[in-house]
Symmetry: D4
């Protein structure tokens, strides 16, 4: 197994018992364990046995790090429009942390209210990588990528109804962005975006150990 990377459990379709066991066993042999798509019940069962684990109810994630401090400098901005996209955005945040970087969550910024975006633009611009989470028309990554010079990882969400077709509208919008510097992950895949962004920041800002190995 590659060192320096978190072990990740995908909770969906697993029983509480399975998640608890895998989590327990992985945390013995690894320095970082992350579980995603973790129901409240799963979360509390793990917390009972491993009280040092952190459960994030909104993100539906469990995270345990031997050394909880971030090890890569700079930060990753995680941007979304509001409460509906928050679970996906928080999944990205936890994953960034599992990858050893700092995440700044900016979650009241939408295309239909540009002034709120302008207020936060410096915090976004100064990030090393920017994750943009958006449902409905999925236009936020285009607007942000037009204002910054950093890579944007876009996450479409299934938030919406009707001709949203469970996230298809946001996915297609992001894939067809007219702005440069955007790539896209699966619908609702906050984990995938956090991983890719964390990986990029790890390579941009390696630890002293990592630098020496290179």
């Amino acid at each position: 197994k590659r060192t320096g990377f978190p072990e990740v459990i995908y909770g969906e379709g697993k029983t509480t018992e399975q998640v608890v066991k895998i989590f327990e066993s992985l945390s013995k042999k690894n320095s970082t364990v992350l579980a995603t798509r973790v129901t409240e019940e799963m979360g509390y069962q793990v917390l009972k046995r491993l009280p040092k684990v952190h459960y994030n109810k909104t993100a539906r994630t469990l995270l345990w790090k031997k050394n909880p401090e971030p090890i890569h400098t700079g930060y990753i901005a995680v941007v979304c429009a509001g409460t509906s996209d928050l679970p996906v955005a928080e999944e990205a945040v936890t994953t960034v942390q599992a990858m050893g970087s700092i995440a700044e969550l900016i979650c009241d910024v939408g295309v239909a209210g540009l002034h709120r975006l302008i207020d936060k633009i410096n915090l976004i611009k100064n990030a090393n990588v920017i994750i943009v989470v958006a449902g409905m028309e999925g236009a936020l990554p285009s607007v942000i990528a037009g204002l910054v010079d950093k890579p944007v990882i876009a996450v479409p969400t299934s938030v919406g109804y009707g001709a949203n077709f469970k996230g298809l509208s946001a996915l297609l919008g992001m894939l067809n962005s007219c702005a440069n510097g955007i790539s896209v992950v699966n619908i609702d895949n906050g984990f995938g975006a956090g991983y890719q962004a964390g990986l990029i920041n790890k390579l941009m800002n390696p630890t002293v150990k990592e630098k020496n190995k290179l």
Copy 2:
């Protein structure tokens, strides 16, 4: 037939001969005749016989008005990002003119370059109705509707490739807009948007005659 409305010919799938004949005959009994989806060849054949008709090569439209002056006050803004969307935008412009209103074309404004949009925002805000033409992710109507207090008619275009699926991405984006005050017409339907916008302005700013009838 309802007076005060243009007669409209849809050129697609008609022969040059058919378009020429219908145009000629309609222009005898009506005060405004518009043809859309008119190929260059059709256009020049009509011009030969009816030199007062105006042919717009980009818009692929033929327009003839007994009285070429606009009869409704105010104007309709027709906004698009650039040259690719221009044929659809110009079709909207010509249709607005056929409906008796003034159209202001603003065509270098895209979501990935907000400053250019901000430069033109007053011209857009002061319109009575705003037509926004956009391909690819179709995000421009959301951004504009968030900045103005006027009805926005959004026209998705088939401009793009790959996951654009011939305009589907723009169409879905516009239908799922998180901004208020937007409605949508068919992909590449500049005519439909121009008609709806012209109709609204006609009702907002009726001629003296029309006012009296009410």
Copy 3:
């Protein structure tokens, strides 16, 4: 925030507690507050604390207006075929009211029974804007737009089964209408149609205050 516009809460995906709090807080600083997609439970919790709010069970809306009187003259027709489309039609009605206009609901009119439509045609014709709500084949807006000279805002609904594909058939039908003067909003988006129709009537029939500002 733009004055003269209602504050709107989208209830979907929010907890009862969240909706109650936002509604309470917004109604302190605004003159009109509307919430859509409000479950019965949410509705009754708001009513308990703010008895002057009006809850519409069919529309799933909460509406509170400091001054409940309409402020724009004329009216907006909201037309649908029957009981299944009623929730969407009533959402449009409430939104029109929130925008300060009068809504006339006509809800027993379908394409397969033209005589019932003919009976109501004058009420529809005399409206300033017409909202047409329809599921299944979504043909009603075409028929109505062919009979009137007013803008039609078409709302496809997800009513139907099988090849209806959750409203896709009605949506595509409306986008491809062969009648002029139709624009379309998202599937089941009564709010969006009511908002745009209300906006158009507000601009057609401004209050004295609004007129003076112009």
Copy 4:
């Protein structure tokens, strides 16, 4: 082979030579031969050798009948909105004739102009079966089925653009019709509709011979 039925050749994807040969050979052993999707070139080659065959350029059909008179009483109405749907409507007409019945073509009737439909309604009502050909939103069968007591065979056409998706909008509209007494054939399948309508009329109004066999 079942007697009393035409032999049918599907011209698409066949060479001119193949069509000519099959037509020639079938017309020796049968009393009715129909070919559909016949290009002009194919048509003229067949005409050269078999001058009694009738080629319909719009319908792209070749028809040869030993006895050209209709043998079933009553008639089948074939209704469409205009020139674009005419090729499909005429294919239905020729097929009805091949099946031994009379077809009445009514081709200037659309949902956005009800008065023209009303003008023709008696001719439609008195038919034994009604074929309705429509593209775009495909709403005409619903309106007609609501006015008559006869079976309606609906033919969606690929006429339109954008969100029409090559006839999908009309197809879905017709399948989801809220009117009773409608069934549907494939997009652009005038032949299929003509065949089933002809079959129904043949059974309703059998020849004396056919009656005796029963």
Copy 5:
């Protein structure tokens, strides 16, 4: 209202109370009342008040006829492959009865077991109209239409999983049938097929009264 036709209630999305009331009221003024998509609860509530109504649990239909005897001679075959398609097939059967004709249900006949089909082929051939109900690949109508000289109304069902996409595979299969004499209704629309078939048989075999009116 057209006499000689059943009054039909679509139960989906209606409350038990609504269905009971409408059924009661319609059965006072009409000679035939049919309700479809009727849950067991609805069914038993209606039975309590109107014991002469017939509730079919599989078909989810309620049927009441002043005169329960069929009035049109001949019969309509309703064919399906097995238990899964039975609810749709029985809905067709009840509708045929509501239309005054006799329905013969043949329900153990599938394309993958031709011998069972051959065993029943005479019963199918002698029907006036044939309704074929099929899910999965939807191939049964093609096979049957190839063996008979009667109109086939094909009903795709949503029975299946995976690439069945809720009936899409059967629907597309039926629309693309290579056999002649087939038309199609919506997925799971046993009612629509029964209505169309009943209508055709009514015209083929009118009652004496009906004949005289003609």
Copy 6:
């Protein structure tokens, strides 16, 4: 490279020059070379330089075998309905031959004419593997698999129009077959079916050499 397998060139998107060169070079070092999707021009250029190669115009294939005799006993049936599916069926035939087996082509057999199928059923039953090629509703594999006890490889073709959606209807039909013993390859992929069938027969009826290696 695995011995005993043909080298295969996919001609699509390659220039004539590229195909000629690759074919020439592969035929020096291998005992069997197959090229598919070969235009006439490509075919004749290869024939000029390598006269022992066999070009099949319908199949659009080039085949060269050092030893042209089949080396596996038994045969593979390749079944289709008619001329339109022939190119795909012949591509399968050539591929079977390239794999060292005998192919029997049966190409006038369709679901709407069962008697023709019954005439050929013994030839089909006695094959070791059966390839069934079908467009439109794609029902032929189901019917055949119900009559035989051999594996069926189904090939959907893009033959058809309208709701065929370029082979989607046949593909979905085959994937949802209610008969046992069917698997499916890509639309128009005669090569893939021939390869899989050839591979199965090779394993069922290995050469003496192959048997000894095992």
Copy 7:
């Protein structure tokens, strides 16, 4: 009925009572009975009455064989990536057993961890037929088919979320595989793959009785 083949019951949409009865009755007259899509409740009811039946909770299958020993030599490999695809893989395993062959289940092998696949490659290579079960991107069959010379039956699963569209991504991936020797069954159809693989092995390695009949 063809001897030597299991009787199969499809549990979906049947009641427990129906499944129990059919199972009981079939096991009286046959030597092998398999039921798929069997809920736990159904399973235990059958076990109560027929204790010799084997219920597999993960596979949701019931299997009863008069003679439980495999009768065909060699084995079929059933390969999947992990716990989520296990139900489908185990359905395939049980079906292979019902067909009289041995199944080897290899279930911790995915495209993103090639070393685990390489560890198991000999077990896979030595199988007679290989069933590969995979969700998400469905890439495993391509990788495996590139390493082996045996037929691969690919089973897409509905495991995944977002742009997976309930198994569509895996299905399309498998149909478009660039590797040779792959055919595909319906999404989640472990039964179909097990049946065809079992059929192929039966023909490759017939029992002495079967050989003699040939």
Copy 8:
């Protein structure tokens, strides 16, 4: 305009004259100009006037750099399976160069031939960012991401036929990858991948000037 970034022209839908003019004018005021989707004719017209520009026929790109040397250390691997995906891969290569980085093209590596991939794995592993271009099932990014610790940008191509649906299969496959560290751009969007990869490498390995500004 942001310095340090190339000016980019999208050639699609522009006339030769337009491309020539824009290219000429931009190259006066900028240090790097890139044009994509450039036909041969456009290419040669530009070359005539600006002989220092480099035209890549496969990539359909024009590139001009005042200083042609790469300015960022390390390199970006661009990986694809063969000749069909080469145009997209080369577009990525040119874009990487326009962004000031070195691109290593590895183009004979596919999932069905792992040994060729293993041969090149070190060249891939040592890149800073990896672009993987793949059509058909789009599985290559999953396999590569499983072997390396660098970010993978996946580019689906429209190469394939049938159920490939113009690149949809590859796109969905990549979005659903079970490997970590992958993000995706639009179908055939080599430019988008090259831009984001170049941007990441620029930030990882800034020039001395860029470092000082930070």
